[in-house]
Symmetry: C2
């Protein structure tokens, strides 16, 4: 497998690309801890501007530690010029799903993120919904969620993504996936994921762009959720060497990206020429 | 399967029993939250006294949220007359194992329990050892352990037991198993368990009693760790209907106890007659 930077002429599929799906954390910016805003990844602000100038673009994020509006405000502060309606995050998608399926969640989410679920019924919960609560993953909060699931005949846990870890400016950090898998182990609950790499989540993005899978490319830093997830949908996928990228992934056992690029800027240049 | 209380004459193997292995939490007592001592399960104090009068007895516990000495002091305060050298807990067993294998742990244990590892080398850790930290399972503490594992080429997690949950006087509570499985998911670490249901742990108890497996019976409230674990070693096993007992287990998919008894007292009466 050749992981050298590909030249434009080496990417035969690039001429069919009409739309770009971009992961956010680790591709546009690296998040900071606590009140730290994090930092834009060099070249990403300009790359997004270039994409907006001539292509269809959506931001497909598993971010659930802030509301969509908060994430949009943060990206704007960092210098990105992005339309909020182009930002797809799992909490609002989940809220719609819960209402459609008559599900009443017990929420285990970061303070503030419960506002995304304002329209949902919460009395007498029949499922647990967990987002990335970060420091909000206390023993007490996890135990409350455990007791709700433990008390159900057919327990159901819905997690907003299921990532292993993400890169923060101060180092790699546990994502919510471990906490979700832990609750599943303790309660033997059914587990649904709303976010990448689920088919439904990619479908929402394609429908919003009005494009078919053959004319879209996903660019992400997570080889399983972003790259593998997109490829399973028949979408071309680029692995960037930013965010949570690990050198071991150059020989990943199950996923082979359609392109590996140093960062978003290099990926956009390689595809648009 | 008949889960009625068996009469003494219905238990053909009872005459060969020379030694008793007792689980502690959920069999002798139910633990309390925080500073709450918990409470002895009715009849258990007398049952232990009766066992000591004529049989060999060891207490085989996965308890790791306190030191062995603290657990012994607590049981004594609750009214149990138990010799500390008969109490087998995973932390001291683990400390010996670490030294034998030249392992240097990063500890994720409840405050105070690190004293069980006084003789171990801790600089430049090459594994993570986790006990039941309860409220000590903060995001920060879990993330520190995650970073240690994430930075290793061949990460190794050792957990002191791997229980799903345990019964506390205020309700069921998450045991360390979910937290261990979560770290394994996030880091793809190898995972060793020191405690029930591992073969080595049962072997220690048999060796200390100087009895073979055919003449020993295990009495526990956990159908997988205690009952299933003992049976895999060829040890007869009694499920008690105290502690974390769930009615669904009467038709458990994979484990069929040799006897089901209402509590420790009833189990001892059924076996000793």
């Amino acid at each position: 497998m050749n992981f050298q930077m590909a030249l434009a002429e080496d990417i035969p599929w690039r001429t069919s690309v009409r739309g770009f799906l971009l992961d956010v954390t680790g591709v546009l910016y690296n998040s900071g801890g606590g009140r730290d805003l994090g930092e834009a990844i060099p070249g990403s602000i300009e790359a997004v501007r270039r994409l907006y100038a001539g292509s269809s673009v959506r931001f497909l994020s598993n971010e659930s530690s802030s509301t969509r509006a908060e994430l949009h405000a943060k990206l704007t502060k960092l210098g990105f010029d992005i339309k909020i309606e182009h930002l797809i995050t799992p909490a609002p998608v989940c809220a719609k799903y819960l209402n459609r399926e008559s599900l009443r969640p017990h929420l285990l989410v970061k303070a503030g993120v419960e506002t995304e679920f304002v329209g949902c019924h919460m009395v007498d919960p029949n499922c647990v919904v967990m987002g990335d609560a970060e420091e909000g993953f206390t023993y007490d909060a996890l135990n409350k969620a455990f007791r709700v699931l433990h008390g159900m005949k057919d327990p159901l846990l819905i997690s907003l993504g299921c990532g292993k870890f993400y890169q923060r400016t101060d180092g790699p950090c546990l994502d919510l996936g471990g906490f979700a898998k832990g609750l599943v182990f303790a309660t033997e609950a059914r587990h649904s994921v709303i976010g990448k790499p689920s088919t439904e989540y990619f479908t929402i993005a394609l429908e919003e762009m009005g494009l078919n899978r053959e004319s879209v490319v996903m660019i992400g830093d997570d080889i399983v959720s972003d790259v593998g997830g997109a490829q399973k949908q028949g979408i071309k996928a680029v692995q960037v060497r930013t965010g949570k990228w690990k050198e071991e992934w150059a020989n990943h056992g199950s996923v082979r990206p359609d392109l590996v690029a140093d960062n978003l800027s290099a990926a956009v240049s390689a595809i648009l020429g």
